[in-house]
């Protein structure tokens, strides 16, 4: 398998012959792992990207949160607006980064690297799974920065809280990356991808209830809210954060009423299940699309 033939004397270079084994689960895992690592290496090397993707969530949290606080004071029953929207911001922070990570598929197509992945003797599913895990990991690294900002908005550190937020962020980031990859496989140009992202991500964010309680909405908005998958990440995130705060039961009832389906309050675990299911579904579509690409 590894013959070390003598090199031609004039060149004096040793020939190292290697061997490409047939596909096994192990080789597929290696392929998925290197796709995951690629995202990580690129993220760490790109400090501007880390900074630029923090701008939007920070704007929402501190500028909008502080600016609208006076207006909203009468309706939040003593809870600072920043504290109220913080769980929503935890969600969108990972959402933007995850979408951006997925966008690199479009980038890879434009700059040719996609072809290197397409001709490799590995399953396309391994590549997509590695890519989605990579996007999720990168987004969570970004999310950690947001978690650390908690005390600035009145949310103190606690081990269960941090682990809970991290887990939810990881799940959401995976789902959003799968969603982004699903879109990105069909899109040929970067500009179009950003266009689609603006058209889909911003409405998803505004409708999700990241910025308002989900009870007593106008009928049309309530319907949209319940369809938006992000709703099912924002709500458990808010419940989790509020569980660790000392606020009046009344304020809690108004601010975190929970998501209802025809009057039935959806438990957190089921909400998390909805996000996970949406993620797996979109992952399946992404794999199917990616495998069908020539």
């Amino acid at each position: 398998m590894t013959t070390t033939a003598p090199a031609p004397p004039a060149l004096g270079r040793e020939v190292v012959e290697v061997h490409v084994p047939p596909r096994t689960i192990y080789s597929e895992l290696r392929a998925a792992r290197i796709m995951w690592r690629r995202d990580l290496i690129r993220f760490v090397n790109d400090r501007i990207r880390i900074a630029s993707q923090l701008v939007q969530p920070l704007l929402f949290l501190f500028v909008m949160g502080a600016g609208l606080n006076t207006l909203s004071r009468s309706g939040t029953y003593g809870v600072n607006l920043k504290t109220f929207i913080y769980p929503g911001i935890l969600c969108i922070a990972v959402m933007f980064t995850a979408m951006f990570a997925a966008a690199s598929i479009v980038w890879d197509r434009e700059f040719g690297f996609l072809r290197e992945m397409m001709v490799a003797p590995v399953s396309r599913s391994s590549i997509v799974v590695g890519k989605c895990l990579g996007g999720a990991t990168v987004a969570c690294l970004q999310g950690i920065i947001m978690i650390l900002l908690g005390p600035l908005v009145g949310v103190g550190y606690s081990v269960t809280l941090i682990l809970g937020i991290f887990g939810l962020q990881l799940l959401l980031a995976f789902t959003i990356t799968a969603f982004g990859v699903m879109l990105a496989v069909r899109i040929k140009q970067m500009q179009s991808f950003f266009g689609v992202m603006q058209m889909i991500v911003m409405p998803m964010f505004f409708i999700s209830g990241a910025l308002f309680p989900t009870r007593g909405l106008p009928g049309w908005l309530e319907v949209l809210n319940r369809i938006d998958p992000l709703t099912y990440a924002v709500d458990p995130m808010r419940r989790l954060v509020f569980d660790h705060l000392h606020i009046s039961p009344f304020a809690r009832h108004v601010l975190a009423p929970g998501v209802t389906w025809w009057g039935w309050r959806v438990p957190s675990l089921l909400e998390v299940g909805v996000v996970a299911l949406a993620g797996l579904l979109m992952l399946a579509v992404a794999i199917w699309e990616f495998s069908a690409t020539e």
């Binding site: 270079r13 190292v16 290697v18 490409v20 690297f113 290197e116 001709v119 003797p121």
Partner: protein, 335 residues
């Protein structure tokens, strides 16, 4: 199967390969074999079907009809086995410019499942060959076009492929880089058991191949060693610039029985023993001659004799056709 193909059997067997894109027949039934260890060149103008053929052989496109095996494996039914045994260098770059040179190669090694302990030594070998070992920790984004192409070649070799496909490996490169790429190819031939399949439209490069296939309009019109092809032409090429090309062509056919063509702006024809023909030409042609050049048969002449046009004219023709098609599209009338 793969062991048998390694020892003896042809590296590539192509039989009646066809590729149609809608109404356009890009490859019209080509057949050929490539022996192991051979450097095999596909020569032809742009748009002759070279890249389409290469894409079918390296499993990127499914043939419309016909079969092909590479390293003993069918390109449609045993796609993965083919992929494990081939290396690819495309015309367009396929590197990740955010990663360093070494990271690009390591990523490739992981995708191909190369044994971990061998990744580093193999990387060192292929990167030293293309002179980039010292630059291995530099991001590819800072590399020049020539360096990137060299790195692509190193990466294509990373997994010790049985067959290396090079699609126009020297296109758009400076003469020095072109020369060094040919040095790598010769070094490879000497040091490893590898078959090289390449396309080019540079005549001088085709001379380096063991055998070449001349492709024109989706068909192979000639296939042999460059020397044999040139000998078969047997005539020297004479190109003359005159005051009246039409009268010259008429006079040539009338007085000498030679059929001449206009190629690259000059009256061109082939005769045996060209130097001895030139004095006769001056005294007997009867049309004023401005300049004469006599050359030994080259692959250009081979191409000319099989296709009736020089490769350069064929390319200008193809691009003219292309721009006419674009004009038609822009003016709306598809047909």
């Amino acid at each position: 199967m793969s062991e048998a193909s390694r020892n003896g059997g042809p590296a590539i067997v192509v039989d009646g390969l066809v590729k149609r894109f809608g109404e356009l027949e890009a490859v019209r039934g080509v057949s050929f074999d490539v022996a192991p260890g051979e450097v095999f060149g596909f020569l032809g103008p742009n748009g002759a079907g070279k890249t389409t053929t290469i894409n079918m052989l390296c499993t990127l496109m499914k043939p419309t009809a016909g079969t092909a095996t590479v390293a003993g494996h069918d390109v449609v039914r045993e796609r993965d086995d083919v992929r494990r045994n081939i290396g690819l260098v495309f015309q367009d770059p396929t590197l990740d410019s955010y990663l360093t040179a070494a990271q690009n190669l390591r990523l490739h090694a992981e995708l191909y499942g190369i044994r971990r302990s061998l990744v580093e030594p193999r990387m060192r070998q292929v990167m030293s060959m293309v002179g980039l070992w010292e630059r291995r920790n530099t991001p590819v984004g800072t590399f020049s076009g020539g360096m990137r192409r060299r790195l692509e070649i190193a990466r294509g070799l990373m997994h010790s492929p049985r067959v290396l496909f090079l699609d126009e490996p020297t296109i758009g490169l400076d003469p020095q880089t072109r020369r060094s790429i040919w040095e790598y190819i010769r070094e490879l031939k000497a040091g490893e058991q590898i078959t090289i399949f390449m396309t080019t439209h540079y005549m001088d490069e085709a001379e380096w191949c063991d055998r070449i296939a001349i492709m024109d309009h989706g068909e192979i019109v000639a296939l042999d060693a460059p020397q044999t092809l040139k000998e078969a032409v047997g005539k020297d090429r004479i190109m003359i610039h005159t005051e009246d090309d039409a009268a010259t062509i008429a006079a040539l056919s009338e007085r000498f029985g030679i059929s001449a063509q206009i190629a690259e702006g000059a009256v061109t024809f082939g005769v045996a023993a060209g130097e001895r023909f030139v004095p006769r030409l001056f005294s007997e042609l009867g049309v004023p001659i401005r300049s004469v050049s006599v050359s030994r048969p080259t692959l250009d002449d081979v191409f000319l004799s099989y296709t009736g046009t020089t490769i350069r004219d064929a390319e200008e023709d193809a691009s003219a056709q292309q721009s006419r098609a674009i004009m038609r599209m822009m003016h709306g009338g598809g047909r």
